[in-house]
Amino acid sequence: MSILANKETRVVIQGGPAGVNAARRMAEFCYLIKQPLNVEAFVYPPEAGKTNEIPYGSGLITVPVYATVAEATKHHPAINTSLVYIGADRAMKAGMEALDDPHIKLVSMITEGVPEKDAKLLGAHARKLGKIFNGPSSIGIISAGACRLGVIGGAYDNLVLSKLYREGSFGVITKSGGLSNEIIWICSQFADGITTAIGIGGDTYPGTDYVTYLEMFEQDPQTKAVVIVGEMGGDLEERAAEWYGAQKRRIKLIGIVSGFCQESLPKGMKFGHAGAKEGMKGEGSARSKSEALKRAGAIVPPTFGALGPAIKEVYQELLKSGQVKEIVEPTSLPKLPKTVEEAMKADEVIVTPLIRTTISDDRGDEPYYDGYPASELINKGYDIPHVIGLLWDKRLISKQEAEIIRRIIMLSADHGPCVSGAYATILAACAGIGMAQAVAAGLIMIGPRFGGAVTDAGRWFKYAVDNKMSVDEFLAYMKKNVGPVPGIGHRVKSLRNPDKRVKELVAYVKSLNIKTPCLDFALQVEQVTAAKKENLILNVDGTMAAILVDLGFPVDSLNGFFILARTIGLIGHWVDQKRQDSRLIRLFDYLVNYAVPKRREVPPLR
């Protein structure tokens, strides 16, 4: 047997993420004791109509979220308990809502920092209705082998170590949430463990005090002794002493109170929980509480360290008198399934990776590009072209190479609003499309006819140089197998009206006295093609391609230089239209040649 929480307890959790986390912990306990999940519903208006997935063993249980407690209990009439994980400013309303629901008999509030007045109102309302309001600031309630409400009991390993999978003989009532686990642990080490442990919360006026629960424990034949862990401040321990001393009680009472340090602290200095404040006239000190408990016949160990041995002594007496029997522990208990990460850490599983990367890693405190920390690159004077070299070609390029790339990007960043890419971005911007999508619209234009010839130009110039072809052999090969030479030809520029960008790039690269076999070959090709037709000149795509191949960049990366450079321009165009608050545009009819058939009659559908 146990008190308050048992195998019939069915729970609604009022709250968001903290409540979901509690439900997970509760599911772990249910799994340990082989009981179905005791959480039937959540109440959380912002997520009403959705569901929360709670891991149970290696599976997932779907728990619905409702807007009100009434809705939850209507759909789940077995619910008899509510746990409140709602913020302090809305906690009272949530608590009242639960108390007012006829299905609910017990409300336990985890919220900390609830105004004192609200806590008193909740407590009084519960008493009026004959219900239990536990908390605020309660870590929860746990009945060994039967029911867990909240995160009390801690991690799964601790549940097992503290033997919470089966009943013992000791009841526990604490103000402190952290100490509840410690006492449960002590009861399992020095005795046979607990029946029920309750966190009543560390506030000055908790909704339910020791006495109410002592009465319940007194009525629970399985509970033979109760440990209460008190604190200075308030009068709850004195009331417990008064109750214990009032008549002969079946249960043994073991009590300990903190706050003796107060006696040797500078006057007025107080600390601990909200409730740990001495009264105005000195009442409520640790000493007066301890004395009151002793006078009432309770066992009061002098220090916390002496608590374990005191519990052991009580247990030995209970054994001797035959009130309790030694418990035979089960030989095996369910093991909580590990997550993949945990199992990998324990060398228990092999996982085949889904993807493989060779260029970058940001699992540390900053990104590493091909092994180099980004901050170190910055601090040692490296620049954006070096990052391009690391991420596109996995090598740290030289200062000279970086300068060439910088110039290529600067020269290709934009080419006015009329070209396909910019026009598409502008059109999208005017239609009110967001930046990422509008820029993507411009990037989609990059292909065989616009900006997308860099890779192909590089591929064929490299093919010719690698195979030591002459210009004539190359042109013949291209004519037969490929078609027009990528990188050669311009819509408006010609030998007499050269592309200034090409001249600039070629002159700069030539001035460096480096080996440029591809560029040299491309220029030779131009000599021949331009002689045949004026506008068959080496265009900017072909120039970039030849230079980048000469620098050693892989052919497949070459279009990337144009895409990267032009993205700068496309973003500029989008921002430009946005800044002007441009209107939606459409083509004028006079810009369209309507080469369509004249109006004609639609024949009947056959």
Binding site: E116, K117, G178, V229, S258, C261, G268, F271, T303
Partner: protein, 399 residues
């Protein structure tokens, strides 16, 4: 509980219809001079000047002056501002008009488990403190209002007679309304006096403790809460309070000068048992500290740095019970970082560190602590099988 100084406390009482004397709170003599030109009552009546700080026995310290004219009050302000009392520097002075009266009474409302209690006595000042049996009480259950007949009965019971019965009952009713609506935990007016000029009962002094947790529903609480400690908070304490106010979970830090045992335990409950254990063995606490509710590691790191910076410490107690949901590995990570920083700054020389803890990821956390030995820290690490406060016994064994 949060203490509010006299000025804002009287402000709250005035808000709920209680007569209070005219008053101003100033930070300089010049300010009072200007206020004197603007307000007739400062020029015409007799004045009282009091240091507006969380100080006890101000009268003995010479920080209360009575029967002043404006020039006298300005001189008093000049004298008081900047006075150092312990760790508190006087920075504000409250100037109020003297209310001439003959009789003094007492009225208070305090929070009790069932609701609140209204206290009245027909004597005031020091007289009521030495005659506490003359205080009569009326319990008001939570959610209820005191009936006027009941108030009159208690007032009569306290020895009030004639027309004063109704007046005092009215005063108590107003004080209760203020208490109830302002989320107060304690309101005390000592003395309540009858103003000779119009026969009204006036609150001459206000002790106001408010429920800081209720601040969210009181947008007009625009005043600062005074330190409850009888001293001002130190810079380090304020820094940790600032962190505490913006994180999930909590970190707390209070300095106790002269101690040699530094505390860095987890949990509002366990931390006090650790402090008790130190005191029980004759040790001297250098501080109080506590972290709980799974706070972020950086907050615990900041707390650790403060603890390591305490002067003259010999031991640091990194204690804790078996946590429910505080991640031991993560919070210990913060502590370890703090230790490393302190060591790099030349602190922790000759300081021994004692660790005991349990909870989620306890193995990993304790392992990381043990590894500090290899970095040259003097550290002893214990797990859940060592009882909670045994590390204090071990640390102080040499004493």
């Amino acid at each position: 509980m949060a203490k509010v100084l006299e000025g804002p406390g009287m402000g709250l009482m005035k808000k709920w219809g209680i007569h209070v004397p005219n008053y101003v709170v100033v930070t300089s003599a010049e300010e009072l001079d200007k206020l004197g030109q603007a307000n007739d009552w400062l020029k015409q009546g007799k004045l009282v000047a009091k240091a507006h700080e969380a100080l006890g026995s101000r009268f003995k310290l010479g920080l209360v002056k009575v029967g002043l004219d404006l020039q006298g009050a300005i001189a008093a302000v000049k004298e008081m501002i900047g006075r150092q009392v312990g760790s508190i520097t006087v920075s504000q002075v409250i100037i109020s008009e003297m209310v001439s009266h003959t009789e003094e009474y007492y009225c208070a409302v305090k929070s009790v488990r069932e609701g609140s209690e209204i206290l009245v006595a027909n004597c005031g000042g020091v007289e009521v403190e030495s005659n506490w049996d003359r205080v009569k009480r009326l319990l008001v259950e939570i959610g209820q209002q005191p009936a006027h007949e009941e108030l009159e009965r208690v007032v009569k019971d306290a020895g009030f007679t004639g027309p004063l019965i109704k007046k005092m009952a009215d005063f108590a009713a107003k004080l209760f309304t203020c208490f109830d609506n302002e989320d107060a935990q304690y309101l005390e007016v000592n003395p309540v006096v009858m103003r000779e000029s119009d026969g009204e009962l006036v609150a001459l002094d206000a002790v106001t403790l408010l429920d800081a947790d209720a601040k969210f529903r009181h947008p007009d609480w625009n005043f600062q809460f005074a330190a409850e400690f009888g001293r001002a908070y130190t810079k380090n304490e304020l820094e940790i309070m600032a962190i505490d106010s913006k994180i999930k979970g909590s970190v707390k830090f209070i300095e106790i000068p002269g101690g040699d045992t530094a505390m860095l335990p987890a949990g509002g409950g366990a931390s006090v048992y650790y402090s008790d254990a130190v005191v029980a063995l004759g040790g001297k606490l250098a501080n109080y500290a506590e972290y709980s509710g799974d706070p972020p590691d950086w907050a615990v790191e900041a707390l650790t740095e403060k603890v390591c910076s305490l002067p003259g410490i010999k031991n640091i107690i990194v204690g804790g019970a078996i946590a429910n949901f505080t991640d031991v590995k993560k919070t210990f990570g913060g502590i370890i970082n703090g230790f490393r920083k302190a060591k790099a700054d030349g602190k922790l020389k000759g300081v021994k560190i004692w660790v005991r803890r349990g909870g989620p990821r306890e193995k990993e956390g304790l392992e990381a602590m043990r590894a500090l030995k290899e970095e040259g820290f003097d550290i002893e690490v214990f797990d859940r099988y060592t009882p909670l406060t045994d590390i204090v016994d071990k640390a102080l064994a040499g004493k």
